[in-house]
Amino acid sequence: MTAESARPRVPINPGYFTIPDDPHAAPRLLGTKCKACGEHYFPRRAICARPECLSERTTDVELGPRGTLYSYTFVHLPLFGSTNLAHMDGYGVGQVDLAEGPRVQFPLAGKQAEFRIGQTLQAELDVLREDGGNDVVIVRFRPVEAGR
């Protein structure tokens, strides 16, 4: 898990995910549901994207925190915008299918040998850098161990 820190956590960009007060709670992704056709989206949008729908009757929802791994890779370069030493040797990236429908792309926690297409993952917050006394965080997904 990410090293414990007393600093307040702020998102890399606002409007994409929650930062729970409980440091052990999983973040949720800030998405949209179309009230006309039921389609879910991440990130948020005002108008349904389905060419058959295009409804403006959309509402904010929280998505995740669990999903299924559709594909993965491991990047052998530092994560852009990070000064976290844990990111210097590279980072995993996954496409994750959320239960609500959207497919999202995020960094993955762990090493390449731990990733398997079809496995269940859960979102967590990862510290990229310190900025003005805050920890700047991004969402990443971590494989859920069997039985948990």
Partner: protein, 381 residues
């Protein structure tokens, strides 16, 4: 598309040109294209300029290099497909009868953009924290899972493109001896399974095409074959479940299928009629997928066709004959116009050591930010 021809082409070799300005690269590519066409800048009635990384107004500023003749100048930007999108606008302007002779100029210095990012001038955001190579690597991992693709298949594509590039004087990467599958696999890993040699390099450069009425081409250069633009398609994404909205995405595969069907229908040809094809091979996995999406082979057969050498020069249909983005390079704005340069030379029979014998029909395919697909068909009379 009726009676639109490529009158001339020119390039400033792609590479790392630290001190060479966009104005210099653009002027040289443009003057080369005018000479090739047998025209003067006085004859150019409109210009479409493509750049991604250069600052605002760079289009009109660089065009002043040729002289201030008062013609309309428009800047077009569509990420990697910028040059292709600008070329399309020029073709439409000629086809619609608005202009007889149009210049399409693309230039960029991707190396300058990378330096800004490294210096922290560009702030990381949710949209770009992850390297673009990762997104294409995700396509490769999924293909391995579904179709049993091996890294060797990607290495074979990259080796082909390096070896084609070695025969192209305008190619950024010039291998001094034949590149093998083993050498590609042994190059540094970027995003598994993609290595540096399976990925396009960072570079600078310029390319230009002069587009005009087909009857003018016959008058200006009766000594050589006429190269027509027979079809053009530009498509953005159409939503489907599983669509990815965030990041420099690969884009839905369906875009390439749909855009290629449009150009085949417009020109009345099929993929079996193509002699050579240029694709957006920023990463080798892309070229493999586009074989199927463009209909060059049946779904699921790309690996087998690669093993048979179908897409090599001398194979069933030669792909990335100039080295592709992987070897020839991918500065940004000029990349799509480099494809037009290569296809025009091939169709005229002027491609030298990499000439595809008897080439009559060529296809040029570019993707922009995974969000737009541009395809053109060129044919020799």
């Amino acid at each position: 598309m009726k009676d639109v021809a490529v009158l001339g082409v020119g390039m400033y070799r792609f590479g790392l040109h630290g001190e060479v300005s966009n104005a210099t690269m653009g002027r040289e590519a443009g003057m080369g294209a005018l000479r090739d066409a047998g025209l003067s800048f006085r004859d150019v009635q409109a210009a479409y300029v493509g750049h991604i990384f250069a600052e605002v107004m760079s289009g009109v500023r660089v065009m002043k290099e040729f002289g201030l003749t008062g013609i309309p100048v428009q800047r077009i930007e569509n990420a990697s497909a910028t040059g292709s999108a600008a070329f399309r606008e020029a073709c439409l302007a000629v086809a619609a009868g608005h202009s007889d002779v149009v210049m399409v100029l693309g230039f960029d210095k991707m190396s300058a953009m990378i330096q800004q990012a490294a210096a922290g001038i560009r702030q990381a955001s949710m949209e770009d924290a992850i390297l673009p190579a990762a997104f294409f690597a995700l396509w490769a991992t999924r293909r391995m899972h579904e179709r049993g693709m091996k890294a060797e298949h990607l290495a074979r594509i990259a080796a082909k493109n390096f070896n084609n590039g070695a025969l192209n004087p305008m190619s950024q990467r010039q291998a001094d001896k034949p590149v093998t599958v083993e050498k590609v696999l042994g190059s540094r890993m970027v995003a598994w399974p993609l290595t540096t040699m399976m990925s396009c390099p960072i570079g600078d450069g310029a390319a230009c095409a002069i587009v005009g009425r087909a009857d003018l081409a016959k008058k200006l250069r009766p000594d050589r074959p006429l190269v027509r633009v027979t079809a053009s398609a530009l498509q953005s994404e159409r939503y489907a479940p599983g669509h990815l909205f965030m990041g420099p995405v690969v884009g839905p595969a369906q875009m390439t299928i749909d855009a290629s069907q449009q150009v085949y229908n417009e020109a009345g040809v099929g993929p079996q009629d193509l002699d050579l094809v240029q694709v957006h091979d920023a990463f080798a996995i892309e070229e493999l997928e586009y074989y199927e999406l463009l209909g060059l082979c049946a779904p699921g057969e790309a690996e087998k066709c690669i093993e048979q050498g179908d897409f090599e020069r001398g194979g069933r249909v030669a792909v990335s004959t100039d080295g592709g983005l992987i070897a020839r390079g991918h500065p940004g704005g000029p990349t799509g116009l480099a494809q037009i340069w290569e296809t025009t030379l091939q169709l005229r029979g002027e491609a030298g050591a990499r000439q595809v014998e008897g080439a009559r029909i060529g296809l040029c395919h570019m993707m922009g930010g995974g969000s737009v697909c541009v395809i053109h068909l060129l044919a020799r009379d």
